[in-house]
């Protein structure tokens, strides 16, 4: 695994996969995809980076501890549920707004925020397990 080709390609592959994971997350509402799958893709991307370069660069690139990311995701998901209580509808009722950005109508919703929370929890939890298991010398 420790080949020059792999080590050189890994960062690009990781970047592409991360981008792809966000794409999958966002398209999930209307086509195959979503937070769970997106999170798994992102976790694999980080795993590839870790296998190629070792865990220290991954940790440095992540900036936060992966568990912190997971916890933040859980917080986002809870907030997404609570926002609807502020609007005087039951917990977890989806709320939608359609602001116009540069002339394009962009649908935003608490459901999306929730899905983003799912994404972060999956990325954080899986990555922290993988990083903890990986040995320093790989």
């Amino acid at each position: 695994m420790n080949t020059v080709i792999f080590r050189t390609l890994a960062p690009f592959l990781t970047a592409l996969m991360l981008l792809f994971s966000v794409f999958v997350l966002l398209r999930g509402h209307n086509e195959p995809g979503g937070g769970f799958i997106g999170g798994l893709i992102a976790a694999s991307a980080l795993a590839i980076y870790g296998i190629a370069r070792g865990i220290r660069p991954v940790r440095e690139a992540l900036w936060f501890h992966p568990m912190t990311i997971a916890a933040f995701g859980l917080l986002l998901a809870c907030i997404a549920g609570l926002v609807s209580m502020l609007a005087a509808v039951p917990f977890m009722t989806g709320l939608w707004i359609y602001p116009s950005l540069f002339g394009v109508e962009v649908p935003l919703s608490t459901v999306m925020l929730f899905d983003f929370g799912v994404y972060l929890v999956v990325v954080g939890a899986v990555t922290s397990i993988a990083l903890a298991l990986e040995r320093e010398d790989i």
Binding site: V24, G28, H29, N30, E31, P32, G33, G34, G35, F36, I37, L40, I41, A43, S44, A47, I51, I55, R56, R59, L62, F64, H65, M67, T68, A70, A71, G73, L74, A77, C78, G81, F91, M92, G94, W96, P107, S109, V111, F114, D115, G117, V118, V121, V122, G124, A125, V126, S128, I129, A130, A132, L133, E134, R135, E136, D137, I138
Partner: protein
């Protein structure tokens, strides 16, 4: 106006908790003087509920609240009638004095802020308890008082005795709370209402119900444990390990009366039956006598008072269940009188302890000259407790005897119990109020002098109230006593008793009580020795029984845990898969629901067959691999093939996820292998492999048969149609799978991601434990130790 008052009441219920939040900060800034601003919280609550007096004394019942879970008819709602209001005023009024007293008592204690916080939280819980209208709210606050009482008893957590007492109180009263919950649920099922105010009109149905016995036992289980009735009385004296403000507040004036409150509240619903009028007076009377004897035996001021509290609670329970004409009025008067004099006496005991350094009655004497204010407060409170005119305690005792008098054997027996119990309480009251103050001066650990204002304010105010209420009974009765008695009896009651002595049987009984009390007081030393011998002769008590039960419980749980959790991964996995196989195969066999053998599809495409062959090749690879790493990879091939099948048959989401899960599984399994330093080869003998193979085949067979059966059944499209119809229309998403995950069943997903997160944390800690032990093992653990450092950096 009405909504404004409702909002104010809601705020009043929240105030103690706000105070609890503010307490640590205020104490950090102001030190013990924080007691002054903090006492404003209960004082404001007191004033708020004071304004209810005109309405409630006119016979009105004030209710209010907000819907909480309307679907289950659960609400946050309160009910203020004579009973609730008397409790609310006692809790907030005495609470104000207790907060001030704590300021003086724990002056300079490093955790004084925390103490204020706990005591205010308790106050909030207790206020909520006595004002609850909804069953659920009653239960929540009931348990909250148990929990805050646990915190307060265990406040001095450095001492073993404190911790044990706290745990004991929590187990006994919290466990009793579970009885109460069950009782309330049965009541709900029988009547269909979840509010006490509505329940009151269902008395007939409840008493006639076949579940009446169950309700009675469950409710009494809650009330008797909370109000320390024999044989559950043992936790209350042990709770004296708490700082004295706690004993004065929780364990005499408020919390221990919660059980009595519950019985009084439910008396109109459950009362009037033979079991009610037998069990309550019997247990109450027994508790009265046991408490009295045990109180005589003690030499510690607080313990003497604690056991008389047990006795008083017994008297209250006895009166609540007695069911005679004056019983409700007697219970009402005694309840108020007891809170006033016992709170004062406890504070006096704490004050003596604080100033002299001891509270052993044999090591105290001649303090009257040094602590005149304390002496005065103690004397006034003792006169009320002893039941001498014109104090409020006298009125209460007269009414008690009026309630019990009668010609029947039952009436005579309980009158006798009341006279003996009251005489013993009389003796203890004056022992506490006179012995430390009169006689020759005895050397004490600290040089005593009069306590500061913060310390004597509480007992003086309460003792004076006991006197004032007795003198101006004409004012107090219509405001407090009559509405209170009305609520207990469930029908209009008017309390008229006054301090004017009048020739009657109750007065005669009072005289007998006082004479008997003086006799016990004079012979206290001998009575103490006799009571001590009696208790020693009996030997075993419920307190020791509690320890035996707890030790037994721990031992059994330990054995059970060792049995169910042997710590062998193989055992866990084998058990899990055997159960899975049985769960799949047994129902199929039992109901004869075997699937039909599928016929080979005629239109099977080449690529479909190829993918299936790939899956089979993967399985073959797993089985034939000489090396574990190869086996893991082969398993990945099989998984990918299944993912392809999902894709081919129209489940792109599933397939997508399967691909990612397979990839990550291979990576993580490979990492686990290298991390755990597993042998590259599985070198187990055939004898171990064969049973595993059997379990695996049974599982696989079970799943296959089950899936075949499911696909051969008639497909019910109702859910498909529902989601097709509504996914786009109301959830704005075309991908039904994802819309179900994040919207229709979003709350499930919230739970699932919480589980993912928790599992991650658990795995992380397991790995770290392993690393830690590897590092400790020696030089071989060198790289791991580095890894630990690495782990801790982010």
């Amino acid at each position: 106006m009405q909504t404004e008052k409702m909002a104010m009441t809601f705020i009043a219920f929240c105030l103690p908790f706000l105070g609890a939040l503010a307490a640590p900060f205020l104490t950090r800034v102001l030190g013990h003087r924080a007691a002054w601003p903090l006492s404003l919280f209960p004082a404001a609550i007191f004033l708020h509920f004071w304004r209810f007096l005109p309405e409630v004394s006119a016979g009105e019942v004030v209710t209010g609240g907000y819907a909480w879970v309307p679907a289950y008819n659960v609400s946050f709602s309160w009910l203020v009638d004579g009973l609730s209001l008397a409790f609310l005023l006692l809790i907030s009024g005495i609470g104000t004095l207790i907060v001030l007293y704590s300021g003086g008592y724990l002056k300079g204690h490093p955790h004084q802020g925390r103490f204020f916080s706990f005591i205010l939280m308790f106050m909030g819980a207790m206020l909520g308890l006595v004002a609850s209208d909804s069953f659920l709210m009653l239960f929540v606050f009931w348990e909250l008082t148990s929990i805050t009482s646990f915190l307060l008893i265990g406040f001095d957590h450095g001492r073993e005795a404190s911790r044990r007492a706290a745990l004991q109180a929590l187990v006994v009263t919290g466990g009793g709370g579970l009885f109460l919950l069950a009782g309330l649920l049965v009541l709900w099922n029988v009547t269909g209402v979840t509010q006490l105010s509505l329940l009151l009109s269902f008395g007939e149905e409840v008493r006639a119900s076949s579940f009446y016995a169950a309700i009675l036992v469950l409710v009494l289980g809650g009330a008797f444990t909370k109000s320390a009735q024999f044989p559950f009385h043992f936790w209350l004296p042990n709770a004296m390990e708490a700082p004295t403000p706690v004993s004065a507040y929780l364990h005499s004036a408020t919390m221990v009366k919660a059980g009595v409150y519950l019985l009084m509240r439910l008396n109109p619903v459950l009362g009037g039956t033979t079991p009610w009028e037998t069990i309550l007076p019997a247990f109450g009377g027994l508790t009265l006598l046991v408490g009295g004897v045990l109180a005589i035996r003690q030499t510690d001021l607080k313990l003497m008072l604690a056991y008389t509290t047990v006795a008083s609670l017994g008297l209250l329970v006895m009166l609540t269940g007695f069911g005679s004409q004056h019983a409700a009025a007697a219970a009402a008067l005694y309840l108020v009188a007891h809170s006033l004099f016992k709170g004062a006496l406890f504070m006096v005991a704490g004050l003596i302890d604080h100033e002299t350094g001891t509270r052993h009655i044999t090591r105290l004497g001649g303090l009257a000259r040094l602590m005149p204010v304390t002496f005065a407060a103690a004397l006034l409170a003792a006169l009320s407790m002893g039941g001498l005119p014109p104090f409020f305690g006298f009125l209460a005792k007269e009414e008690v005897y009026a309630a019990l008098e009668g010609g029947s054997l039952r009436a005579i027996a309980f009158t006798l119990a009341a006279v003996i119990g009251n005489a013993m309480m009389f003796a203890v009251a004056f022992a506490v109020a006179l012995k430390p103050f009169l006689g020759p001066r005895v050397e004490t650990p600290k040089a005593p002098h009069e306590g500061p204002l913060l310390l004597w304010l509480g007992p003086v105010v309460l003792a004076l109230l006991g006197l004032g209420a007795g003198l101006f009974s004409g004012l107090v009765h219509p405001m407090v006593s009559s509405p209170l008695a009305t609520a207990i009896a469930g029908e209009p009651e008017t309390v008229t008793i006054s301090a004017m002595p009048h020739a009657s049987l109750p007065l005669l009984l009072s005289v007998v009580t006082v004479a008997l009390g003086i006799a016990v007081f004079l012979l206290l030393e001998r009575a103490r020795a006799a009571a001590g011998r009696l208790v020693e002769d009996i030997g075993w008590g419920p307190d020791r029984g509690f320890d035996q039960v707890m030790t037994g419980l721990v031992r059994v749980s330990h054995r059970l845990a060792r049995l169910l959790q042997p710590g062998l991964m193989e055992a866990y996995l084998t058990t899990t898969f055997v159960v899975v196989a049985l769960a799949l195969l047994v129902p199929l066999a039992l109901y004869g629901e075997w699937p039909r053998l599928p016929i080979w599809p005629a239109d099977a495409q080449f690529h479909e067959i190829a993918v299936m062959a790939l899956a089979l090749a993967g399985v073959f690879g797993v089985l034939s691999a000489k090396n574990r790493l190869n086996a893991i990879l082969a398993l990945g091939i099989q998984g990918f093939a299944v993912a392809l099948l999902f894709l081919l048959f129209g489940a792109p989401d599933l397939s997508f996820t399967q691909f990612m899960v397979e990839t990550l599984s291979v990576v993580i399994l490979a990492l686990v292998m290298t991390r755990l330093h597993l042998q590259p080869r599985d070198a187990r003998p055939l004898g171990q492999k064969l049973p595993d193979a059997a379990v695996a085949i049974a599982c696989g067979l079970g799943f296959s048969l089950y899936l075949l059966k499911v696909t051969q059944g008639r497909f019910d499209p109702v859910l498909t149609e529902f989601f097709d119809l509504y996914s786009k229309a109301i959830a704005h998403g075309a991908n039904v799978v994802n819309v179900i995950i994040v919207d229709f069943r979003g709350t499930d997903t919230l739970g699932e991601i919480a589980v993912v997160m928790t599992t991650g944390l658990a795995i992380l800690s397991l790995i770290r434990i392993r690393k830690g032990s590897a590092a400790a093992a020696g030089p071989a653990g060198g790289p791991s130790a580095q890894a630990v450092k690495e782990e801790q950096q982010p």
